[in-house]
Amino acid sequence: MERRERYDPEDIESLLSERSFDELLDEERAYVLRHLADRNEYETMRGLLLHMRTSDREQEPLIAPDSVRSNVINAFRAQQQPKWQIWLNSVGTLLWPKEMSGLWRPALAFASLAVLITAGVLLVRNYGAEKAELAELKDVEQKEAPAPIGKDGNYAMEPVTAEAADVAVKELQSAARVAQHQEMANENGFLSEIDAVTGSTNTAIDLVAMDEPLETLAKRSESLKESNREKAGSLDMSKDDGVIEDAEYSDGALAEEMHADETNSISPVFDAITTTPSAPAASHVVTESELAVNQSRANVGSAQVAKEGKFKKSVGNASQSRSLAVDAELVSLLNAGW
């Protein structure tokens, strides 16, 4: 145990390197023999140690080729430079490879790029040309079509046939008739409402089915309007009476209500009407049936007033639309073949 603690092989190594077994001192020899078997083992170890060192001197050391150095330095550069530079380096290698056999790649890439650029330019130019034509403002001289010149050198109108003029007049008249029929139909609807109120049966006329000249239709319409106005006027007179009665009634009712409030007396409304001081002396007691009739007449009167306004409006429109068809000058122009 104690010997193992004092064991130091490095001391033996120095002895092996410097001295042979015979050159060792007695103390050193005793120390060596404590760790080695005999002299032969010591000499073998010494020979081995010295041989290794001398052989290393004799042997030419290995030298790394320059490619290893360049690869290592390139690895260091690649690590240090930014990523975009690495990307650019790869682009450079792609565009100009070391081996000439690899040139087909950049050639193909450039050819494809050239084709794409050419196609793009052509497309843009065509599209741009169309755009330019659309956007360009050109002063175009408007040339009027020359009228045919007669034998005498003056411009001559082309002769219009009588058949073409008739067709044009008929078309114009039919268009005007349709417009007039529509107006009359509206008017007819309005008159039928009046008939329903007044009880008359000849006011509503089927104007659409009627095939009369426009002048006669207009005249007939005017006559119907006049007759209806007369009827409506009579209705207004009776209605006005009712209204006055209603007003009197309402005033009386109000006075009675005020009076009733004062006297706290409840009396029938129709009685109060008779006792109103504002009521005429010749008045009579109004029954419920009379009141209902008067009220309906009043309603009819107000409705009629409103409808009359509409009627006047439609008559005015109808007269305007009729004026084109009736216009003698227009018809004469059409007949002349203008």
Binding site: I12, L36, R46, G47, D56, L62, I63, A64, V68, A75
Partner: protein, 204 residues
Amino acid sequence: MALFGKEYGKLSDERLMELVVRGDEQAFAGLYDRYNRRLLNYFHRMLWQDREMAQDYLQDLFTKLAQRPESYDPSRPFQTWMFSVANNMCKNAYRHNEVVRAAAVHLRNGIDREEAKEGVGVDRELFRGRLDEELDKLDPDHKATFVMRFHEDMAIKEIAAAFACSEGTVKSRLFYTLKKLAERLKEFDPKALIPNGTARTIRS
């Protein structure tokens, strides 16, 4: 401060490594120039005297250093750190090529023994071959310790730092390795192996 080219040779390994961490290419090249031969020979001895493999490992080592210079521990001497990295790479190579190595050793065994029997006296070349063969049979740590000590001429302290072990462990490994090799190579005449005046001072 800008450094000129001449000053790189005077800088210590550790200082150059600091510059490498900062991205100094010349400092990196300086370190490569200082250590490429030693490391190449170390790989050559450790990796079954395969020159191509030694070059590949040398390139891999410096590529790793270029890619991750920050992995260097500034508290450790650069030389021992580099050799420890190289030794770890060799250990990985041993693990991956264990079967191949066994086959190669078996093949060389038969050939070399026949050559030794036929040889007259001690052939140094034959002895070198046998020595390498016996070294390959050793435990990787013992072999690396032996190579660092007697081939790379590294001090006991540096070897201990490279292996992260005590100096006593290194001394013990060296003694037993030397003793084992002497026993296996006792067929050679020891006196014939000793050249005249080859003794030299050994770094402690």
